[in-house]
């Protein structure tokens, strides 16, 4: 078994001491010492999040703000680097997008929020993957026009609270959180502390992500953990939860070679942007939208109990290899192993039988719809 060697050069989040106090097994992740799991283990943490709520420290992710003279200018600047529409993004609204390279490959996937307050006009808040911070920031600095600048936010922690009870638990301290629509955000006080709370996450559940002052992260986390509905959740369950939700993990399911069409994330491309082009790699992406991509990301459900993990080959039954698994593992809510990977578009039909090659054995599997577990994002009741 591979031991994880403590690295004194690892960065720590403001919740590091709390993780250790809570009995977390700390591992190296994207240059940070992060909790893989706490005492109850990944399976229990996963199920806790699906049945009640979990608190995740995601402070390793990059928080930054684009600052321009007005919304139209900043939005137009970001539109030149992504295939999403930001001009029409309303105040307090959030959008998932991707930074594209000139070949239409994904440099990173990220969340973009237009602040709700008119005082913040001209700002767009970004949350990027920890492993891509340096790449993203240098790309943005190189490509942004002179009147839009990138400001890093390094004095705030980022906490996610996810699960069916998450918003009710957060609202006990920040009542306005209960009023947020899915993919919207606002500044509000949490026990008197100025926070920025978004109704979003990466587990397929209802919940929030809270950008909080670094110095207040621990009291906020302790206040949340004092609620019986919430338990701390590590990176292990974060990964199994997002896998079940059919969501991409950057560097695994999408990377600089995959386009948003291949990755099946064209929901980030609003109609105006699809039609007008004007983003990096538009030639390839337009062509893929018109005629279909060469390969696509599909969901895979294994018949047996043996999981297939990243790197396993996908083959036609008794036939040639047609693709590769990019994420896979046991799905605790499904109660079976699942995976995702890329196959040629003409072999991607839902219901098709395939085989996943694990340790030289061919495991029967089927191409299935994603998510593997239905999303339970918040939908405002119709009035």
């Amino acid at each position: 078994m591979a031991d994880i060697v403590a690295d004194i050069d690892l960065k720590q989040t403001p919740l590091h001491d709390l993780h250790v106090e809570l009995g977390a097994r700390m591992v190296s992740f994207a240059g940070y010492s992060m909790p893989l799991q706490y005492r109850t283990g990944i399976m229990a943490e996963h199920l806790q999040t699906r049945s009640s709520a979990g608190l995740f420290d995601v402070s390793h992710m990059g928080q930054a703000v684009l600052v321009g003279p007005d919304h139209a200018t900043t939005a137009a600047a970001l539109e030149r680097l992504t295939p999403s529409g930001f001009l029409e993004l309303g105040p307090g609204r959030q959008r998932y997008t991707v930074l594209l390279n000139e070949e239409g490959g994904v440099i990173d996937d990220l969340m973009v929020t237009r602040p709700a307050s008119s005082e913040d006009d001209g700002k767009l808040m970004l949350v990027v993957n920890a492993s891509r911070k340096e790449v993203d920031y240098s790309h943005l600095r190189e490509k942004l026009p002179g009147n839009v600048r990138l400001e890093l936010i390094e004095d705030r922690a980022l906490l996610a609270v996810q699960g069916p009870e998450a918003v009710a638990a957060v609202a006990a301290h920040a009542p306005d959180a209960a009023e947020l629509a899915f993919m919207s955000a606002a500044r509000m006080e949490f026990d008197g502390i100025d926070c920025h709370i978004a109704r979003a996450g990466y587990t397929g559940e209802d919940g929030v992500e809270m950008s909080v002052p670094a110095g207040a992260a621990e009291p906020i986390a302790r206040a949340l953990l004092a609620d019986d509905r919430i338990e701390p959740i590590g990176l292990g369950a974060r990964d199994s939860l997002r896998l079940e939700a059919g969501l991409c993990l950057y560097g695994h399911d999408i990377d600089e070679t995959t386009s948003p069409v291949e990755g099946g994330i064209t929901f980030c491309m609003q109609r105006r942007r699809r039609e007008e082009c004007g983003y990096p790699g538009a030639g390839r992406i337009q062509e893929e939208l018109r005629n279909g991509p060469g390969r696509v990301r599909v969901g895979l459900r294994l018949e047996g109990r043996a999981p297939a993990r990243e790197g396993a080959e996908i083959a036609l039954p008794g036939g040639p290899v047609i693709g590769t698994v990019t994420s896979g593992g046991f799905a605790p809510t499904v109660g079976a192993p699942v995976a995702m990977g890329y196959v040629p578009v003409n072999s991607a039909e839902i219901g098709s039988d395939v085989e996943l090659i694990v340790r030289n054995r061919r495991l029967p599997a089927r191409i299935v719809e994603m998510p593997f577990v239905p999303n339970r994002y918040y939908r405002k009741p119709k009035s």
Partner: protein, 123 residues
Amino acid sequence: MTTYYSKDHEWIAVEGDVATVGITNYAQEQLGDVVFVDLPEAGAEFAQGDEAAVVESVKAASEIYAPIDGEVVEANEVLADEPGKVNEDPEGAAWFVKMKVANADQLSELLDEAAYKAYVETL
């Protein structure tokens, strides 16, 4: 019956010329929730250090190495349906394989319980 331990966190209980092999409680704690155990079939022959089995936990696949030379005489079929037994009873009902000891000299190089406990303390 004498029980030996390896630094790879296996226990080896020897009775006559048959060794029952499993993973220790320390190993199952490190692995976390076990969801699948890939065991060799009876008749498979291994040299010490060969990859003999794979334990899949929620987070990762981990190889289990043959602690001694020998031929597998039986694999624990219970683990096919109840892999979680490895977490519940690693040093009892969740044994992995029974092997015919091919080279008894190798046993003396393994750790006894006290030495294994002392070893785990250093980790």
